[in-house]
Amino acid sequence: MIRNFKDFWTGLIYMFFGTSAVIIARDYGMGTALRMGPAYFPTVLGSLLVVIGVIAVVRSFLQSGSPVGGFTVKGMVLVVTSTLAFGLLVKGAGLVVALPVLVISSGYASQRFRWGTALGLAAGLTLFCVLVFLKGLGVPLPIWGSWFGG
């Protein structure tokens, strides 16, 4: 039985990344120790990571540890998707659309979300960013995106 889930999952993640690195690196030249090719260092590191992952998995059956604890799926999904949405919207729609979307959809992750405060916060932050970043610091960001001819 698995007695330490933290070790177990960490080990699997390490093994996944290590194996992928070694497999992908096979397409690059290995070279020799004297003239290391592009595959040399990644292969060494990837193999090392696999070994560490295997040790962690083996250890997870031998030593017990504290449980992983619950994930906040809602928080993770909302924070990530609102960030992705910002990326999709920023050039096309511009900051005036992308920022409020980011603020409101990420704010929805909180238990204390209220539409009124969220809308106010979105308006305030958008105004602040336009004034400080664009007008104040001259960072080139699109206020209105290409979809609006900006």
Binding site: P38, T83, A109
Partner: protein, 499 residues
């Protein structure tokens, strides 16, 4: 005296109106984020880095450094007043600091923290000035083998000082090194791990990784248990310590400064280790042992001095060797590179005004902190009351705009989200992100030095143990690793982190 003429040069650089202004902005922002729980200096510096593009390099670095040591200061204010450490380094300050505040001695506790920090900052400034140049002179003689071994030592130290399982930390370092290799290989031009994505040819930006793991990851973690923060702020009374307080403060401040400065130089630690060590030593040797945990002023003065000293001496490896020792200085390396300065031992000779200007600015910044904090206490207290659900969408906005403005590329936003998930998942699994970020920065450098070292030695790997400095560094790394494996030490390591 040479030291004085150097410091004078630094003063001329740091005391221009623009630099004073940005130094002030830096410590002010730093204090603010130190006060706000859930927003650390790493994420803040990463967010503000793109903004500093428009500033001259010295000014940018002065401001970024100010954010770091300012945050140490702000963190202690909340520790004392509301029992909430704003920063990891001020966790121990809550033990006695908040007890003092409860007894109506918040003013004395804040003063002990301020005086201790200022004294420690002053000493640490002189230590950087005194030890920086000789260290850089030694480092100028380093060949690729020495640099490679030095980086090994740095990574080992960051593993040893990381919280939680040693095995997990080593894995994080290896993973960080691997992620650092993404992009075009310098020697052959081969596109490695880019999956045909054109924007990845230059590699993933460290700001993207830092904001993802420290910014987004932290937000998701905080959303997990969104409990009501107690806003029972202790009243600030008894603004000035009594004569007896002063007498009891002197020795702990001196010891704290010494311990903090020494431990701050260690890679991977920065200010955290120093504050823990200073507190436990003070607790062991103090005459007022019975008062510890019940509001002993020594228990505030010592760790506060230590964390400020450590925050500053952690810049020594960065400024003299060009090797970052913690995520914050890793971001500073990035800032230097963006501004066209190659960090390393030659900075001190080629850019003397940058080097000395930054050092003197740290002292000026500490002075600002002392002067500012009394009049502004009321404002910081109000800031603590900002509820988190109004704060984090703002943090997210700054992260998103910051990372986008780096290259005007959406891919950085997507990557930041990816690293946010990675950071959150790893923290749930007990893997600290700090060693990974450090390894991520050092990855490409290590490969390059390894390559050059082996080329020079005609492929003989023994070169690393045949050169005396390289051997010494590797032996130090091995010793550091051994200390964790010795049961007695690993126990104290756990205790130190859990106290």
């Amino acid at each position: 005296m040479e030291l004085l003429s150097h410091l004078l040069l630094g003063l001329q650089t740091a005391a221009t109106p623009a630099n004073l202004f940005y130094c002030f902005i830096g410590v002010f922002l730093g204090t603010a984020i130190g006060v706000l729980p859930g927003l650390g200096p790493t994420a803040t510096i990463a967010m503000l880095l793109p903004v500093t593009f428009v500033l001259p390099p010295v000014t940018a670095l002065i401001m970024l450094a100010g954010i770091y040591y300012g945050s140490q200061y702000g963190g202690s204010t909340t520790s004392i007043l509301v029992n909430l450490p704003g920063e990891a380094a001020s966790v121990v300050t809550t033990l006695d600091g908040h007890q003092m505040a409860k007894q109506g001695r918040a003013g004395a506790a804040l003063a002990a923290s301020a005086i201790g920090s200022f004294f420690a900052g002053t000493v640490a400034t002189f230590m950087i000035a005194a030890f920086g140049p000789p260290l850089a002179a030694v480092a100028l003689k380093f060949g690729p083998a020495e640099f490679f071994s030095l980086m090994i030592l740095g990574l080992v130290a960051s593993v040893v000082l990381a919280q939680g399982s040693l095995l997990h930390a080593i894995g994080m370092v290896v993973l960080g090194l691997l992620i650092g290799l993404i992009g075009a290989d310098v020697n052959s031009g081969t596109q490695r791990f880019t999956f045909g994505i054109y924007e990845l040819a230059d590699g993933i930006g460290f700001v993207t990784v830092a904001m993802g793991m420290f910014g987004l990851g932290e937000i998701i973690r905080n959303l997990e248990n969104e409990e009501e923060r107690s806003v029972l702020v202790a009243k600030v009374t008894g603004l000035w310590p009594t004569n007896e307080d002063f007498k009891r403060m002197v020795a702990p401040i001196l010891r704290g400064t010494f311990i903090g400065s020494a431990l701050g130089v260690l890679p991977g630690s920065g200010s955290i280790l120093g504050s823990f060590a200073a507190y436990s030593i003070e607790k062991k040797i103090s005459k007022n042992q019975d008062q510890f945990g019940k509001g002993a002023i020594e228990g505030v003065a010592a760790p506060e001095s230590a964390n400020n000293a450590g925050a500053q001496t952690s810049f020594i490896p960065l400024l003299t060797l060009g090797i970052p020792s913690n995520p914050v200085s890793a971001l500073m390396v990035g800032a230097m590179i963006i501004h066209g300065i190659q960090p390393g031992p030659s900075v001190i000779n080629e850019q003397p005004s940058l080097f000395w200007g930054m050092i003197v600015s740290m002292w000026i910044g500490n002075f600002f902190l002392v002067v500012l904090n009394y009049p502004l206490i009321g404002m910081w207290v109000r800031m603590i009351r900002i509820p988190y659900h109004l704060l984090y969408p703002g943090i997210l906005v700054f992260c998103a705009i910051g990372v986008f403005s780096l290259k005007n590329a959406e891919i950085d936003i997507y990557l930041m989200a990816l690293f946010g998930v990675l950071g959150y998942v790893f923290s749930k699994l007990g893997c600290e992100p700090a060693p990974m970020l450090l390894a991520f920065i050092l990855g490409p450098l290590m490969e390059e030095y390894l390559r050059r070292a082996l080329l020079l030695s005609r492929g003989d790997p023994l070169v690393f143990v045949q050169r005396p400095i390289s051997l010494t560094l590797l032996v130090l790394a091995a010793l550091a690793m051994c200390t964790v494996l010795i049961p007695a030490f690993s126990k104290t390591r756990e205790e130190a982190f859990h106290e």
